[in-house]
Symmetry: C2
Subunit: 384 residues, 2 copies
């Protein structure tokens, strides 16, 4: 027997009761039974996203919802401003270019957060830009961008603010309606605690005006058609029923905990993981760290990819590797979704063991102790 | 308690052991463990499709794979020939037009199968057509088209033959490599016996040449990128892991039964359902009926939609309604995927009961008896 521990920033562990909800016998989707369910999950998603805007559920990976946020907004030749501060920020630029849009890149060094002034400047220089695209939590670097500050800048213009909240949603405060965020993109396999296969978008009134005027080629990801069908709580295409049943259960868990408490829990886990890493003398990769995952730089002379492999093969612990250019420098510990205090502790303990084996100059137990300190000091330190 | 029976042509019932396979704890997809699984399901799909061509698995409903078969083949302004003999045939035309292609329609009356001569003629008149799109089994009418005959016509030209086999695959003989079929589109929630959420495409060498030369805008459904990733048995985007785990199990069941036996079983079920309906004096809607579902015309004066509702509400039996223009005339009984003799029998018995209630002139038990006759006479009448 080898017990396995999944500490990667997506797919994340799914609560056992949610996994079993998928074993529900298949039912038909053109029924009132399904419509009642679809309405409930749509309202549940509005609660998690904290929006009164319509939320769409589609069968795709998160990238499919990113594509929906591009093809419905941009036509070939349109200009878009894209914040590129990591592997996933760059994806918005890739998609926009694949559809013939002109991309104005705001490139920021990996590990840093975007400055709202840079977006303000880009909008001034490109007043015809249809939208600003950015990640919320950049999963590849562990940075959370200050999307509230970006909203203040973008809402003064005709441009839309589109955020990829795939790994950020449900880990840190997000209030799109108050903050001027027009489209929130989310995925199922992160803090929503269900397996991959569904993706979501919320769409503001300001965004609908752009979408309605946009004549780009689109079919599967067409939000106007989806909007029409959602009026009767119908899914346009056959929905992934088992995942919808799972989502219904996991949204119930989130509602029971309360979204503010979910944010607070992730806040506590993030602080504990960062404190633990720093107590081991390790540097954090993110200047503005997210609460759902922690990107940790490995000590000089230690290959991060080798650390990842040893954690996986010798301890059964799956963490995130560093993407591309930081593959040998960084590992990423997730504490995202169905995560509690002991997920952080086991990640730090495993890291201590592997680093010690590889000859790093660290003191056993010091990371874990620092995390324990944070838990002891948290106002409400239950896992809930 | 009300027992429920799902006799709709998709989503179809999923074997209990396959449902439970989805409760497997989530694992990470950038691992050798996943690659081994992905290789195995890809080879299993090649077996079910009976092709040596590459098969792609994407997270979408079946319509997403139809879109992939359009955007990778056609550029705006390209011409495509589309066989429109029902609700789903028309969808290929919708998608092609949404992407700016010029569509040459071969419209055939609902309930009839396409004539290969009509396709031959259309190709002669439109030699620049990039592809011929057709359904294999048209789910809305219960017709199975003779795609072997179409292949003989299309293979003599530069055009590709693309078939939507979403509800046809695994119910009747299909040999794309021998028959000159270039792209086979399939979905997960029919004879593959898993829940909706995955879709598949096989792509011939002839098709790759067209796809490589095509510069249309595409990203999520880009098959060239998917092909590149499949070389190392990787999924381009986060795959729907639970559904992949389920598919692994259901492909095992299909392999164990043997694809020829799966076809034979559906053949027997189709014959029995048709014999039962006809013994009740009911007309079949399809001139060339499929084996995975039977579209049955209701007697004069009986509203088919009312029959559908009574079956659902009073007997817990979900059948397919007639689409759009045949909604009040036809119901569709599926015997598709995880289906055996008693699914046909219960469908016929329920139909007898409802029709009798509604005052139709039928004799109780006559439909069931006719089905029993077919089962008794089948060379191999086990459900397996």
């Amino acid at each position: 027997m080898k017990k396995r521990y999944l500490l990667a920033p997506g797919p994340t562990p799914v609560p056992e009761e949610v996994l079993l909800a998928m074993a529900r016998p298949i039912f038909h989707h053109r029924t009132d039974e399904f419509r009642t369910l679809f309405k409930r999950i749509t309202q549940g998603l509005q609660y998690v996203i904290q929006t009164s805007a319509a939320v769409f559920t589609q069968v795709s990976s998160g990238s499919g919802a990113m594509e929906a946020a591009v093809v419905n907004v941009l036509s070939p030749g349109d200009k878009a401003i894209v914040v590129d501060g990591g592997y996933f920020g760059a994806r918005f630029a890739e998609i926009a270019r694949a559809y013939g849009a002109e991309v104005v890149l705001i490139t920021i060094p990996w590990g840093e957060a975007v400055d709202a002034d840079a977006v303000h400047q880009a909008l001034k220089e490109n007043p015809e830009a249809k939208a600003v695209y950015t990640t919320f939590c950049e999963t590849s670097t562990g940075v959370v961008h200050d999307v509230k500050a970006l909203g203040e800048v973008v809402r003064e213009t005709d441009a839309l603010l589109v955020i990829d909240a795939i790994s950020g949603l449900g880990t840190v405060e997000l209030r799109p309606d108050d903050w001027g965020i027009d489209i929130v993109v989310a995925g199922s396999q992160k803090a929503l605690m269900i397996p991959p296969g569904l993706a979501f978008l919320s769409v503001s009134d300001k965004a609908w005006k752009v979408i309605e005027a946009n004549k780009s080629h689109r079919y599967y990801f067409d939000l106007l058609e989806a909007k029409e069908r959602l009026k009767s709580w119908d899914s346009r295409f056959t929905p992934a029923l088992s995942l919808v049943a799972a989502l219904d259960r996991s949204l119930g868990l989130i509602k029971e905990e309360g979204i503010e408490n979910v944010w607070a829990r992730h806040g506590m886990l993030g602080r504990a993981c960062r404190a633990g890493a720093q107590a081991l003398g390790l540097e954090l990769f993110a200047r503005r760290p997210a609460d759902g995952l922690t990107a940790v730089c490995m000590p000089e002379g230690i290959d991060a990819y080798e650390v990842y492999k040893r954690l996986l093969e010798e301890y059964g612990v799956t963490v995130g590797t560093g993407h591309t250019r930081i593959r040998n420098r960084v590992i990423r510990l997730a504490h995202l979704g169905y995560a509690g205090r002991f997920d952080v502790i086991l990640g730090l303990a495993a890291l201590e063991m592997v680093l010690k084996e590889m000859g790093a100059d660290i003191e056993r137990g010091k990371g874990v102790a620092a995390a324990e300190e944070i838990f002891a000091g948290a106002r409400d330190n239950r896992d809930r």
